[in-house]
Amino acid sequence: MKGKRAIVLAFLLFLMAQTNKVLGQEEQILPDSASFVQFLINQGEIPGLEFRLIDATDGTPVDSLTATDTKIGLISEYTSALARKDSLLQSDSVSAAIQFLIYKEQNTFPAALEFVSNLLRNGDIIAKTPTNVNGKDVISLANKERYSPTLSGTSAYFGDFKIFAISVIISLFFVFAFLMILFMLIFKARRNRKEVLLTVYDEQVVGPLSEILFEKSLEELESLSDEELYQSFPAKQLKKPLYNQVLVERILALNKKMKGDFKLKLKALYKRLQLDKATMDKLKSSKWDKVVTGLVEVNEMDLGEAIKEVQKHVNSPNFHIRSQAVATVLTLSEDINLSFLRDQAFPLSRWQQMNYLRIIKYLSSNRELNIENLFDSKNQSIRLFGYKLVRVIGRVDLLAKLEEKFDGVTEVEKIEIIKTFEYLGVPSHTELVNSSLRSENTQLVIMAAKAAGTIGDEQSAKIILELLAGNPSFRLKMTLLKSLQSLDSALYTDFVNRDSALDTQTINSHLSDPLLIDV
């Protein structure tokens, strides 16, 4: 409503502004006294307007019946009044003034001006055009003259704003188009040059790399003098970033595809060529892609001395930096504490969990990591990851700690913990399962029911029967019946025989079918 009112108000204001504009234009008919006098001279007689000569000193009318149009000394034309005034001045030296009368009533000059303006505005009189003093037709005269513009050359160009503006726009368009083409050409030329250089450097690098890897032992490689090294990889070339980039990429690619002492040689060569310094510089870059490249290089080339710098990135807001930094610290750090992972502020994605799991699983074969530290994280996704690790790595020794934590954690975590107990199949923690079976959270009950089938006891079977009596949803009923069948087949058969409900019979036929039981 307010909007509509504002629009109406704005429209009215607009109309008022327009009205003012129109009135302003009307007032321009006789803008000043000079134009009014000129109009009176041109117009001749004006209905309702008359003139009288008065004495300029005392204002009394000058009696001159002979010069007036009427017997009371009124003059109908302004030119006549002017002529009379001049003759009086010459003959009698009387200083006369012209008085304006509107419908016989004496009035002031402005009043007369307003009166005439109104007549004109209302169309009561039509303004006469001034008589051509020369008595010639202006247009015909103009036709005889050869046309020449008032403004010519530069002044004509700058004098016309529209032409100037269009010219500027067109010029700018051409300038921008030219600059764009120039930019594209330079960009393409530089890219082509880069590609050519990459190929050239590739060929330059392959030979010396092969030679060093096959001709030198690890000890020989480490004891090579700078001069010997620069014979294979010229110092001048090593100063070029693109050459270094090719060298780094090739060494990293070989490191992935080679095995045995070749890996050690490649790592030694990486350090001898001081490529590790370039890697360290990348870690300090403000560009995230460079930082990630640096982290990959640290990881691939086992640059343990860079670990402090890498640790600065483990809680980076950038997903890629954070993921790669954590993976690198996991791989290279001797620390078994995992505190850097515990203190992660950002939630772990499934991809990150997979990646870290792969590394932790590998590390677990060599050393025992303090996975329990992850249970104390303020980040729920880290705690959940910790519970999953217990399950996947098979850390049965941590189940007691999970049991301690169970009552104080969220229901999502309870589901994960029960899943872990069920997966590891430890039957000593039935209390957790039984208490969860009485939860109000359906997902937790389903998980607990599933776990009860593996690690439940007689109490679990009783609770399951209670739940079945409460007419649960089809999905829960299916899980409950499946678990009951595993826990106590006699109770299961008894229940199925007693309950004639259609869904119970359907589930029973499904569970009884050896082909469908695992579907």
Binding site: L213, F214, K256, G260
Partner: protein, 120 residues
């Protein structure tokens, strides 16, 4: 001098293998794609073929098929990543390749296997 054909699109790997085999006194022919590989099999007199599985235009299995059909006496070594499907490796063995070397590999180990195959 025994001649070995190397079909590998990775310049670095092929150069390393070539360097190592030349060091052992073998003559090598290096090609980067499947079409060039088949052309080389048809035109050259070869003692051994070393091929990658994933190469441009024609894959390693097609190369093996062609080589067994046209040069049944020439032994073949397949060089490939462990990540590649098991069935591809099995198919290669079923076709009758002499050896399979998974990547990452040690070029010295490859050289020993080449020596063993060529002595047989």
């Amino acid at each position: 001098m025994k001649k070995i054909l190397i079909i590998e699109d990775d310049l670095l790997i092929s150069s390393l293998v070539q360097f190592r085999l030349k060091k052992d006194g073998y003559d090598t022919v290096l090609v980067k794609d499947g079409n060039a590989g088949i052309a080389a099999i048809d035109s050259e007199i070869l003692d051994l073929i070393i091929t990658d599985v994933m190469i441009p235009f024609k894959n390693g299995i097609e190369i093996i098929h062609h080589a067994i059909k046209t040069k049944p006496q020439t032994p073949i070594i397949v060089l490939s990543s462990l990540g590649e499907e098991e069935k591809v490796v099995l198919e290669a063995f079923n076709l009758g390749v002499a050896d399979f070397i998974p990547k990452p590999f040690n070029p010295n180990e490859l050289a020993i296997r080449v020596k063993r195959i060529l002595r047989l």
